[in-house]
Symmetry: C2
Subunit: 324 residues, 2 copies
Amino acid sequence: MSHIEELTKPSDVKRVAIVGAGTIGSSWAAHFLGQGMEVQFWDPAPDCDTQVRSFVDNAWPALERLGLCPGASPDKLHYCPDIASALDGAQFVQESAPEVHALKVELYEKFDDALPENAIMATSSSGLLLSELQAGRRGASRYVLGHPFNPPHLIPLVEVLGGKDTARASVDWAIAFYNTHGKKAIRLNKEVPGHLVNRIQVALWREAIDALATGLASVEDIDAAIAYGPGLRWAVMGPHMIFNLAGGQGGMQNFLEHLVPPLERWWDTVGRSPLTDDIKRQLIDGCNKAAAGRSIDELAAQRDQMLLDLMEALNSSRASQAQP
Amino acid sequence: MSHIEELTKPSDVKRVAIVGAGTIGSSWAAHFLGQGMEVQFWDPAPDCDTQVRSFVDNAWPALERLGLCPGASPDKLHYCPDIASALDGAQFVQESAPEVHALKVELYEKFDDALPENAIMATSSSGLLLSELQAGRRGASRYVLGHPFNPPHLIPLVEVLGGKDTARASVDWAIAFYNTHGKKAIRLNKEVPGHLVNRIQVALWREAIDALATGLASVEDIDAAIAYGPGLRWAVMGPHMIFNLAGGQGGMQNFLEHLVPPLERWWDTVGRSPLTDDIKRQLIDGCNKAAAGRSIDELAAQRDQMLLDLMEALNSSRASQAQP
């Protein structure tokens, strides 16, 4: 399957292409410029050059605060009048065209000729299935999903996944590439609607809607409850590491043995989850792996230090925004 | 029902009692000390005086960073050898005894004589039903739920609820009291297992477990996905205001009309939610109310500013913790 072995080392990538430069594509462009790269972009909108430059100029102070890489400059942004010139010499392509199947298929047909033979192509698609989009394409083994969260130049997460025809090496490369260049990439092992995080967001939202429908709380109070409660902790560590700490010195194992059973009474009212022995084992092992040798006390101290830093930042941010 | 009309004005409260001073009670004590109050505490554990003082000393630098109120001092912490002396003169009582029904019932029987006639009593209970605990008690109309999130001296959220015998005025008072003294209180209108936020946490967790069970992603990647993705946004605004902004200039209405329908394909796979016309109206109205006159552009600018402040704080926190 062609040129996987000739891929540029992820840390050596100097030139990327942005195909489709609406809000998401523009934000990707800003991110890669901040990483010191040359960014070639194409979009069919007539005013896209102005739009993207304006987006990048607005985003630049934020990128400066988050830390620019050596050589980073908005002057490395290059508008290209067609796909072929945008992709020319690119070692990586981030495609963020509208979520329309036919439109992406048409685009990918053009990639057959235009995509450099040693480049990885990642699609930002949130709803379309990569396996369907890549089928029959010449570069299919180098097509991955690289799904960002809005706005990509601020939110680190990228969900990475290979379709049926993607080479495993392409997924590995994309994860390494994103992680080397300022993003936090996670690996998805299956192609499911909504990927991972949007499914989780919808599950949370469904319960929130239920609270609204049953008159439990108002929209405003539900939002406040999350933003001033678990949202803070989730921004610091994911839910499993938070539960791991809720288990005290016994960690996740203790949490599952002693804190989950008393919840069964109301767990039933939100639907039982498949907490099998195998899943419990995966949860415990996963938390131990994520702890990477840190004791519960060390983890708790880190959680509290980060919560404090985060609370202080949010308090001062809210206070400054309340000024006239 | 007795002495609701004689309650101290929430902003005038100077003396509170902490009954049950394990991890949660100690953290509550630290919080109220930081608010400049006299804190009288009782716990049956023999070494509780030492434990609580040690907790407060450890927490003090954090409270200093978050901002102490005038007169705040760890010297205002007073160990009391029994419930009666802990409650003596208190204008507010936070009860954080272990989650054992019989134990709390026994405690509340003692409150019949010991609770000052103009004091509100709030229980930190996460799993027991207030209506069952307050039944037949003399001060029942002044008993509320005030459920915190761990650790209470850092996490602002308190869920407030009245039981069957609670006076509406007591709930109003408790919400005003918490909000005046450094917490973010939300109002629950129904007594359901798990209150609001733990139900939402479990709904999110159930989907995370499903991802694990189906092999979609690892525990570590699920945690990273939330912490580096939606967790960041949820710490800034709740999910509805985030979706409100995802709807662009059309806000929640546009989100519901144009962005939710394409999700139906995978919404089905996580269970359909009751998005009736009435609920849609409540969601739109709720977002408009929370916006309080701010335009979508203003809200988006605030979101991005807060995200940036938060990202910067977390980056620097993580970097400092990575130092040897």
